[in-house]
């Protein structure tokens, strides 16, 4: 035995294992909300995927249908009431005054303009031109009495939830729900 101090024992370094790269190949983004920030989150993620060479499909349901409805797409609002992160010091009674929500939404859109974030309709045109596909939910469309004529021209079809899952088919697909 030797007299020298024992070398401190350390755990053996983990062996490097070649990691198999499994990139995201497709995203299916479901947008169920009609608030400005929720719709933009969905649009930015879909467009961002296409920019990376990832396939993107979008499915709009419930209030999310507002985003693809001709009359409302560019008139989405952000909620000033029931939205504690937005102007936390603003009393609800003030935030609920007539016109306040419209004003807040206008201010938010102005900020977005500065960052060159396109309007909803232009964003949808961009996604369509980039090869993304946009669908409306049949059940929600029936409920709100909306047909293909009410939707933006980029909307490909009104489909069932089963058809929606078929869109997600394939390995490397991620479903994102908003």
């Amino acid at each position: 035995m030797n007299d020298t101090l024992e070398m401190p024992r350390t755990a053996p370094a983990p062996k490097l294992v070649a990691k198999e790269s499994k990139p995201v190949k497709k995203v299916l983004i479901i947008c169920s909300k009609g608030k400005l920030e929720d719709v933009y989150a969905a649009l930015i993620m879909a467009n961002g995927a296409l920019m990376e060479g990832i396939e993107a499909k979008m499915f709009f349901t419930f209030f999310g249908l507002e985003a693809i409805t001709r009359k409302h797409a560019d008139r989405l609002h952000t909620a000033t009431v029931g939205n504690p992160a937005f102007m936390p010091d603003m009393p609800t009674v003030v935030a609920g005054l007539p016109g306040f929500e419209a004003f807040a939404s206008y201010m938010m859109k102005k900020e977005m303009d500065k960052l060159e974030i396109p309007r909803v309709t232009e964003f949808i045109e961009m996604i369509d031109a980039a090869g993304g596909e946009i669908y409306a939910c049949k059940l929600a469309a029936d409920m709100f009495h909306l047909g293909m004529d009410d939707f933006l021209p980029e909307v490909k079809d009104i489909i069932t939830v089963g058809d929606m899952y078929a869109l997600a088919e394939g390995e490397g697909t991620q479903i994102i729900f908003i």
Partner: protein, 102 residues
């Protein structure tokens, strides 16, 4: 893969962006494009030159700005540089990785 001979390799980042955009030359661009399965046409060259010029001017590039350049619309841009047009074209143009989310 078809590669051109006598094209000196240039230093790139791990993701394949040219480290020094001043080293960029047309032969290198041609060969880099081949790696992405692209045979550069006049349309590609016009876009690459435009990208380089805008980068020189310090413009933060986005797909929307490319579409407003009048050289190609969004659809054409995606067709010319498949698999992520702004990133692929930036690599071939020898300019830094685009940092825009839109």
């Amino acid at each position: 893969m078809e590669t051109l001979v006598n094209v000196p390799a240039l230093a790139t980042t791990e993701e394949g962006y040219l480290k020094n955009h001043k080293e960029w030359n047309e032969d290198w661009a041609r060969e880099t494009a081949v790696q992405y399965g692209i045979d550069l046409t006049d349309k590609h060259w016009a876009l690459l030159r435009w990208l380089r010029q805008k980068n020189e001017e310090g413009v933060a590039l986005t797909i929307r700005k490319v579409a407003n350049s009048g050289l190609a619309d969004i659809k054409q841009f995606y067709q010319l540089f498949p698999g992520g047009p702004l990133k692929v074209s930036s690599k071939i143009a020898g300019i830094p990785k685009p940092v825009s989310c839109i």
